[in-house]
Symmetry: D2
Subunit: 269 residues, 4 copies
């Protein structure tokens, strides 16, 4: 269970640690992804099913106050029947090149959060995934077999649609926006900034700060709330808010996107 | 009735033209102010009272769609009992120095629009005016006996308050904002810009265009609607939307502000 | 050349009128699409190639001041190397059911504007189109063989990506937004509203007007500028801003999207 | 030194505690105001001048990240020569009626923060104060000899102007906004909200959350930074960021405003 954030090169330690913690009867909070290999994940979850310990997967963004408010607005029927979800998720800068090979690629490392967010907001399981990906930030990323700029579309059985756009680099900071559109309205989230200052001068008006630098600042509150939810689940012996199955399904979507890029076909999941 | 806009050096022709038009039985649309001399205005209105011709004073801003919507929101009770009005009104650049002596000064030339707007939005007549004024833009304006930067506060008999701030120069364009605050809420108007473009980069995010340059662009729609209202009033023989008395009262407030600056006392009107 | 806007049931008269106007040596301004049948369009353009008359296709949105400013910002290098374009385009209400069969379907009737906008903003020809579509607004639209809610992704040869989302119904008005993201920044356009009023009360803050109702209001200025551009092209004998070839290519993209929905494959164009 | 926030009925304990802490050689962080009686404050400061202990006055808003960024923008010359400051400060609800008599009235209890903010942002000492005040929220406040709705204007020797508007009740939450206008631009601060959610529907678009409820939530970060600054001042033996003299001067302005309301004259300070 490492808490170092998103791009750990220790993802391959997760399954072993999960199994040892489970054997010791300890409640588990595991950073995403559980593992880069879906087969290994599925074996791990199968073994876990025989133990009573809770496994909570660290999709922290569900605990962001604004994301949670958007989800509540959907669930409360504020926008009627949901039709479309849009997720913009752009990092300020690519990870160190040396770490690229161990990330599992853009979809399993970065988009995995957006796959989880998309599933959660859609409220229906995606049944079809399509994706396209390019290397537009740094050709060395392509040389390492990865991509840095992608668009994904998922469709649920009920015909709801979810678009994700990703890039490993955004000059204006860590861009994290959500939009949900339904039969009676739309809800959307803005980015966060260090201050509310707006500057106006001869060159333009209402210019605001660059965005918060990266996930530790942007999602600081979400980590606090995630830990609260984990502790509450353990103490109250309630179902965890983000389950091992949620972790598995996000990885299935990431694998499907990768396959879609290779084949040019939408992949059914 | 000249249509050349705000800083005409022909204001001193208004009363003569009004009286000749009235004698000819013609409906009159007169640019603000009717005259810079309140005694002359009052003599003119007295003579006009004996003729049946309508006199419509050109406080065009009342016909701006956003200002009109704000007024409607107040009148419809959307903010409950009105408490405070805030008016920000800053010009992009001072008038030519040569025209300063004939303007009657900042309060009669520029603030006069805001006095009318304040009266109209307050919904109660101001009974007290206080003002302070400085010359911060160009010392040559002071040399000509005028000021370029001012703050005014008016109070109605019911205790409602109205703040006006003015400046003859704003680097970011023609700044025209309104805010009305009441017991159950607030309504406010933004500025207009040529496009809705928002620019984000390393230096900042969401930077918007400079504001529309000046009154001809900013209030283009208001002039169209003002003329429509004038024509409708004449054809339908209905009371004019902005009366000669409205013109007179705005000038009274401007004179009171000038006196307040000189005396340091709030002036009762 | 009909000027009735978007959902004419007289699209099938365009080619005949184009050919008669060309024979008469008249400059032509043709509403989009030229025709719903790409073969017919290609025959028309081939015949037109032998005449000197200009044919200007009515993709009016290119003349919207905010869209034009966004395009200029891209072309001026304000966001560096372009990577992604996002287009949100949702109508306030579906067309009359009776007109659905003659529209050619969502992609040829409604998305066609977005295909043109995407091509124009990408600055590189799309080489691949993928799309998914559902009927979520009105099952009668499905009964007529059409869809009402769609997402499209296009990719250029250089790897640039363009996402389009469409819906035939949006409760909050005619939703028309653009975003372009590049190596050094992002530019985006907001919607237009009748006024700038913002309302704050116990239920929420900064609530703004519903959007302008539909294309006649939203794109009023673009039609004026489009006509100006057409007249200028004719008088100055310069290339038209939006050519017959632009009209043809948008239709090719619409046909590709339709095929992608049917096949589940990305379609190369 | 009580930390219970703004409307302590223990303000009258401050001077005694300050003098005892000073006698014991302890560094002091004192909530505003030091006392409601300016003569008592001046005697306290005179006695304190003979001791080496630092006295830090709790004008916490200076430590709010957005207020601090606005101040830095002014000091860095981002808006050129400062001309006008606007401060909007409205509470969500009046204090308990029972506490009104011990508050010292609106100007000493609530506006005192805005007087300090105005002085700090103006960068020049106010030399003239004018104010008007009404009781528009609750007549029982008038019955207790206080007001609940006020506007203040201050002028510095250099002619800079500062407007403050206050109200004891705002239906949409705790309204805290700042604006500074100068020769080359303007900077302004928005309010804070619990989330960034924007809601759009048939009734309106982009509606945001009500504002953060009150000062404990709105200025949470400022209290942390204020304590950091106090500790740093003590440890580094540096001048305190907000001095006893700052505390005294804010009270002088509050007293001047009260006198201005009574006399109808601008009061020189």
């Amino acid at each position: 269970m490492d808490g170092t954030g998103r791009r750990s090169d220790r993802t391959n330690t997760h399954v072993d640690l999960i199994e040892r913690a489970a054997a010791a009867g300890k409640a588990i909070l595991c950073e995403k992804p559980i593992d880069l290999d879906i087969a290994k994940v599925e074996r791990c979850l199968a073994s876990l099913a025989r133990t009573p310990v809770p496994l909570f997967v660290g999709f922290n963004r569900r605990f962001d106050p604004s994301a949670a408010a958007l989800k509540r607005a959907i669930d409360d029927g504020q926008i009627g029947a949901l039709r479309q979800v849009l997720i913009t998720s752009r990092d300020p800068a690519p990870p160190p090149l040396a770490s690229i090979p161990s990330t599992g690629g853009l979809f399993r490392d970065m988009t995995i959060h957006d796959f989880d967010m998309g599933r959660w907001l859609l409220g229906e399981e995606p049944v079809e995934v399509w994706a396209t990906a390019s290397c537009l930030v740094d050709p060395q990323i392509a040389a390492l077999g990865d991509v840095d700029t992608a668009m994904v579309v998922m469709r649920s059985a009920g015909g709801r649609q979810c678009h994700i756009n990703n890039c490993r680099q955004a000059a204006y900071g860590y861009d994290q926006r959500l939009e949900a559109f339904g039969s009676s309205g739309m809800v959307a989230n803005d980015n966060l900034r260090p201050t509310t200052l707006r500057r106006s001068g001869a060159a333009g008006t209402e210019a605001r700060d660059p965005l918060l630098p990266f996930f530790l600042e942007r999602y600081a509150e979400s980590y606090v709330r995630e830990l609260d939810a984990f502790v509450a689940a353990v103490l109250d012996k309630k179902p965890v808010a983000v389950s091992a199955e949620d972790g598995r399904r996000a990885l299935v979507l990431a694998d499907a996107a990768l396959e879609a890029v290779k084949s040019g076909h939408a992949v059914r999941v």
